[in-house]
Subunit: 587 residues, 2 copies
Amino acid sequence: MLRTHTCGELRINDVNKTVTLTGWVQRLRDKGSLLWIDLRDRYGITQLFLEEGKSDQKLLVAARELGREFVIKVTGTVAERHSKNDKIPTGAIEIKVESIEVLNQSKVPPFTIEDATDGGDDLRMKYRYLDLRRNIVRECLLLRHKMAQQTRLYLDGLNFIEVETPVLIKSTPEGARDFVVPSRIHHGEFYALPQSPQTFKQLLMVSGFDRYYQIVKCFRDEDLRADRQPEFTQIDCEMAFITQEDILSTFEGLVRHLFKNVKGIDMPSVPHMTYADAMRFYGSDKPDTRFEMRFSELTSVAKGKGFQLFEQSELIVAICAKGCAGYTRKQLDELTEFVKRPQIGAKGLIWVRYEEAGTLKSSVDKFYPEEELKKWAAACSAQPGDLMLVLAGESEKTMKALGELRLHVAGQLGLRDKNKFAALWVIDFPLFEWSDDTKRYHAMHHPFTSPKREDIPLLDIDPGKVRANAYDLVINGSEMGGGSIRIHDRATQQLMFSKLGFTEEEAKKQFGFLMEAFEYGAPPHGGIAFGFDRLCSLFGGADSIRDFIAFPKNNAGRDTMIDTPSTISEEQLDELGLTIKSENSNR
Amino acid sequence: MLRTHTCGELRINDVNKTVTLTGWVQRLRDKGSLLWIDLRDRYGITQLFLEEGKSDQKLLVAARELGREFVIKVTGTVAERHSKNDKIPTGAIEIKVESIEVLNQSKVPPFTIEDATDGGDDLRMKYRYLDLRRNIVRECLLLRHKMAQQTRLYLDGLNFIEVETPVLIKSTPEGARDFVVPSRIHHGEFYALPQSPQTFKQLLMVSGFDRYYQIVKCFRDEDLRADRQPEFTQIDCEMAFITQEDILSTFEGLVRHLFKNVKGIDMPSVPHMTYADAMRFYGSDKPDTRFEMRFSELTSVAKGKGFQLFEQSELIVAICAKGCAGYTRKQLDELTEFVKRPQIGAKGLIWVRYEEAGTLKSSVDKFYPEEELKKWAAACSAQPGDLMLVLAGESEKTMKALGELRLHVAGQLGLRDKNKFAALWVIDFPLFEWSDDTKRYHAMHHPFTSPKREDIPLLDIDPGKVRANAYDLVINGSEMGGGSIRIHDRATQQLMFSKLGFTEEEAKKQFGFLMEAFEYGAPPHGGIAFGFDRLCSLFGGADSIRDFIAFPKNNAGRDTMIDTPSTISEEQLDELGLTIKSENSNR
């Protein structure tokens, strides 16, 4: 090694040692007779020290020529500092410099290499290698490293085998859009990049691997939204000879292991809630349960009093914001504006203040005298000092809107603390969801999810009512993982494909190998996949996944640092037997 | 869990326990009054037992209906076996069956699920999920799992950070052919799949990550040969602030750790040999050093005696096969045939028997009397009982041919034992190799490899003579890994690109980001990558990597199980803005 120690290593008991350090010049403070340099590497910062009159004159000249981010190698003696810095682990010592070698110079970086940088997003992406020098960003990737190691440690301990599944696989029409890879050898044919290793992990169960896992890259060619990446990473797992309860307890175990070993948090056991209840109480299949504020239905209590809006509504539903009776008119107007935004889509907001004095005041006093509002308060378990917020309209839309309002109000009340974590298993998801676009049912999870046995008779009568053996792990209102008990027999799988509108031929072409595999002794099995990028960002207390990915793409799917995607040569296109359509012939 | 125990778990001290097992019916032995079933899962085999008269009659009927590979769930009582089987860990017990539930039936598998299967390669690939049920194949993947875990354990212990680098990157012309991925959003543009994360790991060093590793999928669209896969896995590593010696000792440590912890073998420290010596002594840059049999040059000793073949030869070189003086004429003819094969390309073979009696007999007695042959023997350090094998001709070709002969003879002599391991660092590789095809120098390693400082003056005068700071780890004659100390300044990198025939513009377009990064304080750095598939197969004592990959492609790059590559829909092509050239317009 070019160094004897790292920049995070030296302590007071190293005083008088001769050491060699390497690293980057973080800053230089020149007080005329005294000169300090902060030397930085991945492991920390160590203060270097030179003194006019005592240090060699040439050395002083050389030191003064150093610029920010120069890479240097320094030899010197460890000395105790006069004024110690207890904010950094090396703060008790400094190095009296005896020699400096410049290993590489640096141009002035386009933004400051500090936690609070002056660089904007675009600049940071273009110079990602400099952005990654910032402690705050490197910490995110160190956290990710730790998460991966702890995940493997936990799963290894439970006899899971890590198996790499192929990246060059086959394009299938179900699900999101595939990235495809033209084959040069097989002209006109394509591989596809996996959206998940789903069928392969199921085949591994058919193979008797019993317990599989992989931390694996997956790919989706979707129209990008903020915080969605074309390539992302999953913790992908599957188990055989299990019930749903086994999966839930095994992977609740994983999450608790991670909280314990990465964040030092003892997480309580994770409650279960049906999808139906989650929708009913929170208007969401991924409720944030760091706080309660459950929905209370007022439809039967509030209807029939001549208030036109309510009379026309399928559902009247409220949340109770504890201690918010003092909200000003301005605050209430802001909430009304919030729900009326097109993304939320409510027509208006009804509020009821349950004042400390015990009186009730509302925005619908004309229609509802206090004794009626008392009934509302009872339905909402509201107490004096609370504020009820009521939405009405078409059931599904209203639930969703109130769910958004609930999060908004909770945010205002500081109930969504990033350092607090609440996990929830949402279970019994519907098997299908109806698409108005395609006028057919789609698999809510994927076509390999098994229906609940007792709901199978509904498959023909009322497919929308069939519940699946499917589950999501939700933490702080975000879906962290999801999975299901799979179909493991050919007949059910074939029935499922037919319900999804596959012809027998299509099903066979796309998934024939899986259905055939099911005929050779497929065991009962199920699994789960966690969004690893998101899990890391949750643990890191961040909103965005981007800083937990070393080299992310921007919102247009582009890596601006290496400048990709980019054109390829005519020769490459020729070899692949492809031509690019001219712009105007393209739709 | 559907089971209380696995099929590999029960022992004599479990007798009388009521247990539930799940697994596959391996075989059924029906002796009329007694019925045995071998139940198999990943963990082992447990014998089930039913007895006419004692077991329930319905149960006996059900048991007799079981077929091979049926998946069953069995409850029963653990009993001591009358005749124990000490070949399996559960051989002391059997289960007296009380109930059987068929979890899934199985058609008769297309080949037997046994270590010695009757299935051919093609069938096994098509039904890979059944092939993976065979112990012998599963063991390969369990070994791989263990190798991966131990690799991470070692590198984690040395402060390496695991970082995931992107899969959707940029196509570059240097090196092998890229797989490309058309972008739907950016019409006419493409991503490329990485042949290695080379530039990204170097950028991580520029970022100060100091020590990086990743077990990572890489991709090469090469014409496939046996045992080459379009996607393969690397252990990819990089370190900053190091010398070449640091890299060699760190990764020698990794390999020794793996041998110790995966195979229980204490490996001695790994010798270093220059590329020049490897070529001189073994005619190969990846010599098998499980045995010596080094080359001895006879050019000066043997020339000038009127033997036409030798007089016309640039090089005369021999190996000495210890104790082989007794080789029959037939054996020697076979060796002569071997070297004359077109793949080897020698014109003929000269042999000299140093007989036990001390006399020397050769195929060139006419030209070389015994006293001349004695000089050969001295040059070869041959002893009575040994056989010398001599090739002559153009230097490079002759060395290569003798290298092949050396391996062939060693194979015959049983010197290439799969359970013996000999590792070697080959260092000081040439920086460039000349290509007769393109009439220019190519980077022997890659364009980021640094030249030896003392050879830099040769860059302009004699590029072929410039040595690189590049090294390979060779085990048993196979390259297991290779790497280099990298260039870390813009000027040298630019010079390197120009020597490789890049115009300044091309270099900038392809690698501008890297050269720019070198201007912002790039530290000295270097690294290595190991072929993980090959390393696993070496550890597994296999010749082929295929059984160490869960779902390999065949030699035509095809996965016959899922049937890919395959056609995609017109709609997909449209969205990508691509058309497939008709066969006749394609070159």
